[in-house]
């Protein structure tokens, strides 16, 4: 069974339809990259997976988004627990105005995941370690998160997402504001995290999609044009539209 199974998904901002009949299955522990020109709907689609679009009053969804066989848009879905299970990392790192430790501990505390204080420390350290950040911050855990570099802040946000034990991680252009070295660290991290998590990443950087993902999905004007193994997508895509996009003929 697929970890995520989306069928006939339509999404509207008021009367404007932003996504048209999207169907895609994402197996467990796969990295799938969403590419496409600006405004093609890839970020909107990503946000439908953990109902982040619920925050937009005029947004409306039709179709099914099944995660582990359960439709996340069923009325009785607990959205908070859905977002814990399906974590998210944004384009711009958004640490809380707190210490490094507290940034990661926050989600653990409010969800009551830890057994005791020692367990809380252990979980914070593990999340920071899994986000490949612990080594750089272990001596200044109680200093402000704002003192970290952009790349470190982004990895802190990943650690924060990992701390609440998600199963799926959604990343919306997680490295677009970072320099090449920080970008490389995020990409290495994605490849490492794949062993444990299912990851969907939106990126404008085609080489990034090629480097980190198992499959790539190409969106255009709110439609899913093609989804294929990344190797095929970048050497011999099925659709001419995909070929035109990845070879820079438009976009």
């Amino acid at each position: 069974m697929s970890k995520i199974s989306v069928s006939d998904l339509n999404f509207f901002y008021g009367k404007a339809q932003a996504l048209h009949d999207i169907s895609i299955d994402i197996p467990e522990r796969e990295v799938v990259a969403f590419i496409g020109p600006s405004g093609c709907g890839k970020s909107t689609f990503l946000r439908t997976l953990n109902r982040m679009n619920d925050t937009i009053p005029i947004a409306r969804v039709e179709g099914k988004v099944m995660i582990d066989g359960k439709d996340v848009y069923e009325p009785n879905t607990d959205v908070a627990s859905l977002r814990r299970k399906v974590g998210m990392v944004f384009q711009k790192s958004n640490p809380f105005p707190k210490s490094i430790f507290e940034n990661v501990a926050y989600g653990i505390r409010i969800n009551g995941i830890h057994k005791n204080r020692a367990d809380l420390y252990e979980r914070v350290e593990k999340a920071l370690n899994d986000a490949a950040l612990l080594g750089e911050v272990k001596d200044r855990m109680n200093t402000s998160a704002f003192g970290l570099s952009g790349g470190q802040q982004q990895r802190l946000c990943i650690a924060r997402a990992l701390a609440v034990q998600p199963e799926v991680i959604l990343m919306d252009e997680p490295a677009s504001a970072l320099d090449p070295i920080a970008t490389q660290k995020i990409e290495e991290l994605i490849v490492e995290l794949k062993k444990q998590y299912t990851i969907a990443i939106v990126t404008h950087n085609m080489q990034q999609a090629a480097r980190v993902s198992d499959r790539t999905a190409f969106f255009m004007l709110g439609k899913l044009v093609e989804v294929n193994p990344t190797q095929k997508m970048f050497t011999n895509p099925d659709e001419k539209l995909t070929e035109d996009y990845i070879t820079g003929r438009f976009g």
């Binding site: 085609m206 080489q207 090629a210 970048f234 050497t235 011999n236 895509p237 995909t242 070929e243 035109d244 990845i246 070879t247 820079g248 003929r249 438009f250």
Partner: protein
Amino acid sequence: MEHRIIDQQLDLLRDKLLLLGGTTEAALERAMRSLTARDSDLAREVLEGDKIIDQMELDIDRFSVEILALQQPAAHDLRFVISVAKITPILERIADHAGSIAEAALILNDEPELKKYIDLPLMAENAAEMLRTALDAFTSEDAAASRRVIEQDKVIDKCYHRVFDELITMMIDNPVTTASAAHLLFVAKHLERIGDYVKDICELNVYLTEAAFIKHSPRLEAA
């Protein structure tokens, strides 16, 4: 469709490859003529010209790497650069074989001519025709034409075996011809190898146009 920076570079890369292809074709034709017309000056010219072909190969290698590094081509663009980068050394090797034929001509031209060199001129014409058609097919990205050329290689192989048998018989019947016949055997072998190389070029054109690796797959070759 917008004009892309890479288009200009891919066009230039194609031009460079075709120039190398044309120069290689000419080297083969002149090498054979130096043999059949017993023109040793022409043979020396072929050998001298090989340096230019080597330089062309290096130039295309450098340019292909530059495009890969700076333009990061994908899909058809990527397959095009890869195909050119793989066809280039094949052409250089064909030119090397032409050089070896010219070297044989230098030796044979000082000896009495053996029975108009049997089927060798015909074999050379076939090889040259295959090469010309293969390069045309690459330019027009015509995979069907490439597959037809691949089939033609069998004709060259047959011709080679006929020449081989004839030359061996000649050596047995008239041992005084052995040295010359041995040189001609090498010429026949060079032409047979050229046929194989042209086949490789055709396989790369099928890769370029269909993204299919048909090398070592007889079933796909015929598709």
